[in-house]
Amino acid sequence: MFLFRFKRTLKLGVKSLWMHRLRSTLTMLGIIFGVSSVVAMLAIGEGASRDAQEKISQLGSRNIIVKTISPPEDKSSVGQQQTLKEYGLTYDDAERFRGAIPNVRVLVPNRRISKQALYRNSRISIEVIGTVPWYPEISPLRVKYGRFITSIDTHYKQAVCVVDEFVRKELFAFDDPLGQNVKIGGDYYRVIGISTAEKSTTSASQDNSGDNGGGANVGKIYIPLTTAQTRFGDTTLQVGAGGSPTLERVELQEIIIQSQSIDQVLSTRRSVQTVLSRFHKKNDYEIIVPLELMKRAKDVQRIFTIVLGSIAAISLLVGGIGIMNIMMATVSERTREIGIRRALGARKRDIIMQFLSETLILTLCGGVLGMGVGSLVPALVTYFGQMRTVITPGSLIMAFGISAAVGIAFGIYPAYRAANMDPIESLRHE
């Protein structure tokens, strides 16, 4: 019985809407755009958020990264050309961290130098990273073939290196790199391992323009830190912005400290700050805490979602108002039908159900179509805009729920108006 009533009401609604196809379609468009913008905006927002969080979590949530930056005073003073600029983190800093900060699990001093790598006839720009054997513990870097640097390599300052996937592809197009010798600077290094390509850690923080970190598309070659120290020294010749060469002496580009647990990250960060401020008069370092970045990214993300959500909500609101407008017109157009139905035994709630179901059919169809369009838009954004987008089931459920809510919210008043018409008046209506 109830099912029949439901079926009949639905059928009647579809029939009435079908009588005014163009009008129904146009009305539905409002909801389609509204819902699809909700879905698309949420997908884009979610994609951006996951991207940022992934980048940050690659830095390691327990890590504290201390980076060398060129101190701002030196950049501004024009008179000090051709002099030796000495700044940045030192081996002493690493020792001090090791000695003074509790709860440190791993400490990795890194030396990063931009160089050219040569193998047979190919030559590419790479970044040489002088590091310690336990570097893989604090980074997402994994050795796929061969091995990583060992303490023996470090101790004997061996000329060995681990190349990443990127270098393997660019430099060793047809050969197995393991055991081959690569020329970096003036020396040959034997390849002992191939690692996964590490995304450039520096791109996660915005203010690192002074770094030699390079973009994501620079291959990386890992050598023992001691080897880097002896072979390359600490001094590099840099060509400054004005074309004048400067000598820079930097011992370490970064020191990565991993605390024992997430709870201790912030206290460790304070200790690092204390130690550094004691020995560094110039502001030649920055401390990056991925955990804090992650928190900040989440805050930004929340605001982003709220803004996108309200834009989408406004378009849904406009769609809803459109529906209400049309339903008001429909009700007054069908005054006579309402009168007939009332005379034939329809109660007020029957009339309400009839018009409400029409609105709901419009909004729910619009909602479903909007979900379709809304899922398509992020795909296009990903394809053409190279942006990551993620459609979560939650956002689809929400979009559907919202369209149903809009249907009820904007359908109830016209339906109520219809139900409260005087049957005698409406029967007389032409």
């Binding site: 019985m1 009647l12 039908e337 139905r341 009332r342 005379a343 034939l344 035994g345 029967l427």
Partner: protein, 241 residues
């Protein structure tokens, strides 16, 4: 609520109006449209209600049809006082006990013949199959068995009015209440409709027809004439008796 199963036997009073008045407030003026109407209509009667414009015919029709509530007095329909019922209860009474036939047919344009006949049953507790079966039988009865899937716009005026009569019979009401049923029809179709009404009278249905048309009055068994909101004349056509 409404017990429609107990059919009154022929001759029982199914419509009793006592001292029924209807007033409208027009600004400061009170318009007395119906004044102390006393009518009793028995089951199986064929009654014509007549009167000039402004005599209160339409208002009385609305009263009988439970579309409006009287200002004072009582109205018993099938033994139940319906004069002070709530809106939803009035809807239910209309659906179950009154079968309306209008001057302008009042079919719903987007529905076909069968679906139009089914409307009153939809608002009562009929099942899907039951409702469809009954609608087909009624369509057959008014001679539209071959046009069940047609829309009102595809039918002639006379055919539309026949659909309306079938629709009025859908819930097997106590009273069939017709408002100028031939008013929009040519004389041929009008005669058809009157023929159907006669047939229904022969089947002992209770018919109340509100009309200007003296011709209809000759078909009826009893004529009630209104003048200035009062019953001016209540006569029986004994030749029909």
């Amino acid at each position: 609520m409404i017990d429609n199963n107990q059919k009154p036997t022929n001759g029982d009073a199914i419509l009793v109006m006592k001292q029924l008045c209807k007033n409208y407030q027009l600004g400061t003026v009170e318009l007395r449209v119906l004044r102390e109407i006393n009518i009793t209509i028995n089951s199986g009667e064929y009654v014509a209600i007549m009167g000039p414009s402004g005599s209160g015919k339409s208002t009385l029709l609305n009263m009988i049809g439970c579309l409006d509530r009287p200002s004072s007095g009582s109205y018993l329909l099938g033994g139940q006082d319906v004069s002070q019922l709530e809106d939803d209860d009035l809807s239910a009474i209309r659906g179950a006990r009154i079968g309306f036939v209008f001057q302008s047919f009042n079919l719903i344009a987007q529905l076909n013949v069968i679906e139009n006949i089914e409307i009153p049953m939809f608002y009562q507790s009929y099942g899907e199959a039951e409702s469809a079966e009954r609608a087909m039988k009624l369509a057959d009865m008014v001679g539209l068995g071959d046009r069940m899937k047609h829309r009102p716009s595809e039918l002639s005026g006379g055919q539309q009015q026949r659909v309306a009569i079938a629709r009025a019979l859908a819930n097997d009401p106590l009273i069939i209440l017709a408002d100028e049923p031939t008013g929009n029809l040519d004389s041929g179709s009008g005669a058809d409709i009157l023929g159907i009404l006669d047939r229904l009278h022969g089947e002992e249905k209770t018919l109340i027809v509100v009309t200007h048309d003296e011709n209809i009055a000759t078909h009826a068994q009893r004529v009630i004439r209104l003048f200035d909101g009062r019953v001016a004349e209540d006569t029986y056509n004994y030749h029909k008796g």
